[in-house]
Amino acid sequence: MSRSTTEPHLPGLRQPAASNDGLDAPFWEGAQAHELRVQQCLDCGLHQWGPEWMCHQCNSMEIDWVTIDPVGQIYSWQRPHHPVHRALSDRGPYIIVLVELPHASNIRMVGNLLGDPMQDIEIGAPVSVVFEDREGDPDFTLVQWEASPAN
């Protein structure tokens, strides 16, 4: 359901690092293992993203990380043209999508929609994850998205 690439989509931007309190380390470790991991409450079953120390539904602090199907639907999108960072100066337009994951309590995730930057984008369209493996200090993996057959 997912694939991976080593081609950097937006090279030169700041690389992600796990927060120093360890809260989101399982997400970034999962991405490097090509698994999409998010939090799930052990008491009420709610998924949440971004991660929190507490379940926002039942206030339990018994939260686990689970691997979920790396698919979703486009909830919204934008196409930046104006470069706000020097690494984007000669990049041209690119697409940022907000992807909703109905099978994981409708959490939403932000990423790029790979492929033609001027492609038509349809809200509700199915997308699947592309794990973008990047060299860095240390190496890291981004969770990207591409159009997919209905899932």
Binding site: L10, G12, L13, R14, Q15, P16, A17, A18, S19, N20, D24, Q48, W49, G50, H56, Y75, S76, W77, Q78, R79, P80, H81, H82, V84, H85, R86, L88, P93, Y94, I96, L98, I107, R108, M109, V110, G111, N112, I123, L142, Q144
Partner: protein, 395 residues
């Protein structure tokens, strides 16, 4: 609402002050000096000595802290300081609210709400740099090229346009109304720069769905608002602008990271509006003139709908250039030019302009304006909104 627990009319704005508004990075004064100048101007406007100030309220982590300001001004008693936490300029009306609350509670007598920005000294909002790793919530967006304010709010507007089928013509009309009003306002950075439909339509994309003219300016300057008890206001220089209502507005998980706010398609004003009108004892129909914070025009459309000034169904019919003009429009909007064309003072200029309207002092005066609404910060985690009125509005 019990009158004992309602600030309606108990507190008034008695003075407003602004520095020259500069294009970003062009102030020759440091930011702290700009804030001092705005406070002095507001005190002069009120006919009140700066030494009488005993409280300070600001927002957006303003760098010019009350102890330093009090030291510089030689204030004898610093009794109250307050910082409104939210993103963007969502705290502009809340700063006035917090000042009003302090006065009603007897915590202070004369409170100044203020904001200063000097981007030459401290850097711009709309540029992002650096190469260090990023962690926490920003790590879920920034590596994907989502880091500027326009990018943080564009996707809400896309979804809003998708769900409700409205927006583009309204967004253009809002931008044109702001530029129209700036032409009569000598303080406006865009004084002398007009905007027509063709120029809007042909302007470059910043990030779809926002064109250049959908986006606020970035500026240097400062603004200040002096708030005190209404009974004290009677002895001062000008007619008071009563604070009829002021509310903060955060919803269920409106501050959730990675765009996970429960209600995504919102300007963030839904929680506040029912309290706002109840507190003021009026309805949306009683509003004579509106100052609605434009970080981006799409947020203004949502804000006006959520304040009950138009509906999802009729927004594109109501929000036309002719309707939004001070000279004859049914819903005069952003009569100073607002954040798009007067100055981006993180929205405090919109609160100042609402005061001017109820005083009859605007450069685009709405005839007989008695009640003015001024909101702050659409689409942010915590927005805020206020209503000002003339003394006769208390009835």
């Amino acid at each position: 609402m019990s009158d004992d627990y309602n600030l309606r009319g108990k507190v008034a704005v008695v003075g407003v002050g602004e520095t020259t508004y500069y294009k970003h990075g062009q102030s020759t004064d440091p930011e702290f000096v700009l804030v001092l100048k705005a406070i002095l101007a507001a005190c002069e406007d009120a006919g009140i000595s700066p030494k009488e100030i005993d409280g300070f309220c600001s927002y957006s982590n303003d760098r010019n802290d009350p102890p330093r300001l009090a030291n510089a001004l030689g204030i004898p008693e610093l009794r109250y300081s307050n910082m409104q936490w939210t993103s963007g300029g969502g705290g502009a009306a809340a700063a006035v609210q917090n000042a009003a609350g302090a006065i009603v509670a007897g915590s202070a007598n004369v409170v100044v709400a203020y904001r200063g920005l000097a981007q030459g000294q401290f850097g711009r909002f709309g540029r992002s740099g650096g190469s260090r790793p990023v962690s926490g919530p920003a790590a879920y967006t920034l590596p994907y090229g989502m880091m500027s304010a326009a990018q943080m709010y564009a996707m809400r507007t896309t979804r809003f346009m998708h769900e409700h089928g409205v927006g583009r013509s309204s967004m253009r009309a809002i931008a044109m109304a702001c530029y129209h009003h700036a032409q009569n306002n000598p303080r406006a950075v865009m004084h002398g720069r007009t905007l027509d439909e063709e120029t809007y339509d042909s302007s470059r994309w910043i990030t779809e769905p926002y064109r250049l003219f959908d986006c606020c300016l970035e500026n240097d300057g400062a603004a200040a608002i002096i708030v005190t008890r209404t009974d004290r206001a009677k002895d001062l220089a000008k007619a008071p602008a009563l604070v009829l209502a002021a509310q903060q507005s955060g919803g269920h998980r409106s501050g959730a990271t990675a765009e996970n706010a429960t209600d995504y398609v919102t300007s963030s004003f839904k929680p506040a509006v029912k309290y706002l009108y109840q507190q003021a004892g009026i309805t949306a129909d009683d509003i004579d003139v509106v100052q609605s914070y434009e970080n981006f025009t799409g947020g203004v459309v949502m804000s006006l709908i959520e304040h009950g000034l138009c509906t999802y169904e009729n927004a594109d019919e109501v929000l036309t250039f002719d309707n939004l003009r001070a000279d004859g429009g049914a819903l005069p909007l952003n009569t100073s030019g607002g954040n798009l064309a007067e100055c981006y003072m993180h929205g405090l200029g919109l609160q100042v302009e609402a005061v001017r309207q109820v005083r009859g002092e605007s450069s685009n005066q709405v005839p007989d304006a008695k009640v003015a609404l001024a909101n702050a910060g659409p689409m942010v985690a915590v927005a805020s909104t206020a209503i000002y009125g003339t003394e006769e509005t208390l009835g």
